[in-house]
């Protein structure tokens, strides 16, 4: 199996001499093609920083990150945005849809900035929309949609460019439980049917239980790692709760 993401001993320091915060402190791990990996940790554990450096929005202080064999820590600014739009797909907690565009146009935008031909744009949007069951909201504006619909549109936008890696930052953070479940099922479907590689950051155990493998982070370091294996989602969920209790924080978020 191919390694999509290879994180090698990365560190991220904030602040200057005498007052240094180690947000990420020597983290290494790998994500293989077709994997659905969750990253959990309490607030301030460094999981968002980790996601930011992987998504090339932020730079590491030391170490290397290889995505599909390319070291993104050495890329220049312009090749970074090119890399970002070709290799990565993003799903954000607050959807980050453009309020002035329809759902269709929001999805299309990911392709137009890659200069994809108009004819192909339509074909690809129709295909993804069918998978995510958002055909009937394509002509609506974000303010006309429910949170779940918005997030599925955002997922469609992340997926449509066929990225090597989809990064999801608290995708269910702004959704009610029903919408959350629907979205997670969609993500599961993307993962199994389309072989999409997903890395999802969350502090919600229920959301995390949809992943196949979970990395726990605390104080900038990997604290634990659990694999779902052949166990059911329910068993996996209980396992997650155990680790979260061990971590000693954030239990208020556990369902």
């Amino acid at each position: 199996m191919n390694t999509i993401l290879d994180v090698k001993a990365i560190e991220k320091y904030y602040g200057s001499k005498g007052n240094i915060t180690k947000a990420v402190d020597n983290i290494s791990f790998q994500v293989n093609e077709g994997e659905f990996v969750g990253v959990m940790g309490p607030s301030g554990s460094g999981k968002t920083t980790l996601l930011n450096v992987i998504s090339t929005i932020d730079h590491v202080t030391s170490g290397h990150i290889l995505i599909n064999g390319r070291d993104i820590t050495t890329l220049k600014k312009n090749s970074l945005s090119r890399f970002r739009r070709e290799e990565l797909g993003f799903i954000f907690q607050d959807f980050n849809l453009l309020d002035t565009l329809t759902a269709y146009e929001n999805i299309a935008l990911a392709l137009t900035i890659q200069k994809v031909k108009p004819n192909e744009i339509d074909k690809r949007i129709k295909a993804v929309a069918a998978k995510l069951e958002i055909n009937d909201v394509l002509q609506k504006y974000p303010y006309q949609m429910s949170g779940g619909q918005k997030q599925r549109v955002a997922s469609a936008r992340a997926l449509i460019t066929n990225p090597s890696l989809i990064l999801a930052d608290e995708p269910t953070g702004a959704l009610d439980s029903k919408s959350s479940r629907m979205l997670l099922e969609s993500m599961e479907k993307l993962n199994t049917e389309m072989n999409a590689t997903i890395m999802m950051v969350t502090h919600d155990a229920f959301t995390a239980s949809y992943a196949h493998r979970i990395l726990f982070i605390k104080d900038g370091k990997i604290f634990n790692e659990i694999v779902r294996g052949n166990s059911s989602r329910k068993e996996f969920f209980n396992k997650i709760i155990e680790v979260v209790t061990l971590l000693g924080g954030d239990t208020s978020h556990v369902l």
Binding site: R82, F83, E105
Partner: protein, 670 residues
């Protein structure tokens, strides 16, 4: 302590204040410069008449300044409220920390004072420089020598400081009022509120767009067809024009969106659809200001180009209208005859001549209609009441001889047709070459010339047509009966070198009125006399006046419209910040983002300018048909000059906006 805070604020966010500050400084500079005419006289070697003109220019500039200061006051208030809005969160923080509202107002008062003071000093300093240039310009327009030293206008400085002190005072009151009305919760959550984009039916936009085009078309058509001289036609033109303009901007973005959507290749290309939607989403709040900007630009272009066109025209036509040192005219030929008699032995006269114009009441312009198509458009009653001006060949040739032109030769039954007025050539030209046969005092005569020269029969002010032939006919002396009385007599005199035209004129003028007083004339009567230097001075004076009025108003309106657009775009940059942030996250390159910002601002700046240019193209065409009375118009150079000014002022605000927009986008938001 509060002053320190104000000082820090201004220092810290000088980039935010930049547009505000520049606008203030520009305004101060303009105000100072155009109020400094009085002081300019000190270095100009003007004669009495010229300094009178400069006096009246400064009076007019003073009056205009009242109007301009009101415009600037509104502009500065607008710019100020933009800045205040940007700082809502900052004020929220002050209030959260327990600062009372009066004290926040106090900080703002200090800030206003500080910026006001800096911009006043900078503006007056800049104004001092520019007014020196203006002095040189004035000197070159009056063609007088410059006795140059640095000019400082105390009066203008005083007026400028006073006017802007009042404006700043209003700004302070306004700020206090705004701060008082703010609620803490609104300040803290400022920027969080999510505006729902109002979606309008795109087909409705297309419909409104077509209606606006129809209205504009109607306004243009009426303006060209009927002219803009009368209130009855002016009102519908202005109404249709302004409603058309407002509707145009209301529907433009929707129409553009619909139109470009039909081409998938264009719509789904890079960030095009984002930019179009971006503009469309804001159009509900922007169309009015865009319309106002468009109309202000129209006024600006109108003021600039007409002012300058008139100046050029007056200068050009002056050459034609001053063939003699002195000309006396009256419709009472005996006054001229006696005047000539009176000056018979005057040794100052080098040479002289009298030319009479006769009128045959049966030979009126309507008889020419069959030969001249354009004449059919004129009011038939009017042309029936317009008799042709008839001149004796001998007198006409004497005039040509004295002005250094070859004599005409006509056979017995031949007539030479001409006009002195540029505006009439289009009616007269078609008559030529057709051998038109007319009846003059009962005898037939044929118009045989194929061309003519535009010539005046004496010296007169441009536009003052006592020495012009509207449609003139030169015929053999024998055609005119001995008992025919001249309709008007013109006495042209060339004086010897070194003789004062002014003195000669005032003597002759006194004599004329004395002669008129001796006889009790009935009905319409006129006496006029003019000198070459009088015409020249007047022409220069008028042209300088028009240039300066045009420059002053034109630049004020230009700056005002650019400022409105710039501020609007910058406040939009705030709202769009998160959208551009999203684009960045999904991988749009910086170049692509810059292009999209450029396109967006470009559309906002170019649209009003474009429509204003179309408007003014039509408007100036119509206005010119009025101005043509002054003579041939030179539109080219004035258009170039206007374009240059627009490029400088509008262009610099465009660039400021572009960089400001990018700067706001790059700011990290808390």
């Amino acid at each position: 302590m509060y002053f320190k805070l104000a000082l820090k604020n201004v220092k810290k966010s000088y980039k935010d204040f930049l547009i505000y500050f520049l606008t203030l400084a520009f305004s101060v500079c303009l105000f100072y410069t155009f109020n400094s005419f009085q002081a300019q006289q000190a270095v100009l070697n003007l004669n009495k008449a010229q300094s009178q003109i400069v006096d009246s220019i400064s009076v007019i500039m003073g009056l205009l300044s009242n109007f301009v200061s009101v415009v600037l006051a509104f502009l500065i208030l607008y710019a100020n409220s933009f800045l205040i809005k940007r700082r809502k969160r900052e004020f929220g923080l002050y209030m959260l920390l327990g600062m009372p509202k009066q004290q926040i107002s106090k900080v703002l008062v200090y800030e206003t004072l500080l910026i006001g003071l800096i911009s006043l000093i900078a503006g007056i300093a800049l104004g001092l420089l520019i007014s020196q240039l203006l002095t040189v310009l004035t000197a070159s327009m009056f063609t007088v020598t410059l006795n140059y030293h640095f000019v400082f206008s105390f009066d203008s400085t005083f007026i400028t400081i006073f006017a802007f002190a009042v404006i700043f005072f209003i700004v302070m009151i306004f700020n206090a009022f705004i701060i008082n009305r703010y609620k803490l919760i609104d300040l803290i959550t400022a920027g969080h509120r999510n505006e729902k984009p109002r979606v309008r039916n795109l087909w409705l936009s297309v419909l409104i767009f077509l209606v606006s085009l129809a209205l504009l078309g109607y306004a243009y058509y009426t303006a060209i067809d009927k002219g803009m001289m009368f209130v009855e036609t002016l009102t519908p033109i202005i109404l249709a024009g302004s409603i058309g303009t407002v509707l145009f901007f209301l529907s433009l973005s929707g129409f553009l969106l619909k139109f470009i959507q039909t081409s998938k290749r264009l719509y789904y290309r890079k960030l095009n659809m984002f930019v179009l939607r971006q503009i469309n989403s804001k159009i509900n709040s922007n169309f009015l200001s865009m319309s106002v900007v468009c109309i202000m630009l129209l006024l600006s272009i109108g003021a600039l180009s007409t002012g300058i066109t008139l100046r050029n025209t007056i200068n050009d036509s002056t050459e034609v209208t001053i063939p003699f040192n002195y000309t006396g005219v009256s419709n009472h030929h005996e006054i001229i005859t006696e005047l000539v008699q009176y000056a018979k032995d005057d040794s100052r006269i080098k040479n002289q001549m009298v030319i009479n114009s006769y009128q045959d009441k049966d030979l009126t312009a309507d008889l020419l209609v069959p030969y001249s198509k354009p004449m059919r458009k004129l009011d038939p009653k009017n042309i029936k009441n317009t008799p042709l001006d008839i001149y004796k060949l001998s007198e006409f040739n004497r005039k040509r001889e004295l002005t250094g032109k070859p004599k005409l030769s006509l056979k017995a039954n031949e007539a030479y047709m001409f006009t002195s007025l540029d505006s009439l050539t289009e009616y007269v030209d078609p008559i030529l070459g057709k051998n038109a046969v007319l009846k003059l005092y009962g005898k037939e005569i044929t118009v045989t010339n194929k061309a003519y020269e535009l010539e005046q029969l004496g010296t007169a002010q441009a536009g003052y047509n006592v020495t012009s032939a509207s449609i003139g006919l030169v015929v053999d002396d024998a055609y005119i009966p001995n008992n025919a009385l001249p309709a008007s007599s013109i006495w042209n005199v060339n004086l010897n070198k070194g003789v004062s035209e002014k003195k000669f004129q005032s003597e002759m003028s006194d004599k004329m009125f004395e002669l008129q007083g001796q006889k009790a004339y009935m009905g319409h009567s006129y006496l006029a006399n003019e000198t070459r230097s009088g015409v020249l001075e007047n022409a220069v004076g008028t042209s300088v006046m028009f240039t300066y009025v045009g420059l002053y108003l034109g630049i004020v309106f230009l700056v005002a419209s650019a400022v409105i657009l710039a501020l609007q775009q910058l406040s939009e940059a705030e709202d769009s910040h998160h959208r551009y942030q999203i684009l960045k996250k999904i991988g749009a390159e910086k170049r692509m983002l810059n292009q999209s910002v450029l396109m967006q601002i470009g559309i906002y700046f170019i649209m009003p300018l474009g429509l204003a240019i179309v408007h003014s193209f039509i408007g100036i065409k119509v206005v010119n048909s009025v101005l043509i009375l002054f003579g041939k118009l030179d539109i080219m150079s004035s258009s170039l000059f206007t374009a240059l000014l627009i490029l400088i002022f509008y262009g610099s605000y465009f660039l400021l906006t572009y960089f400001g927009y990018n700067r706001i986008l790059q700011q990290e938001k808390a």
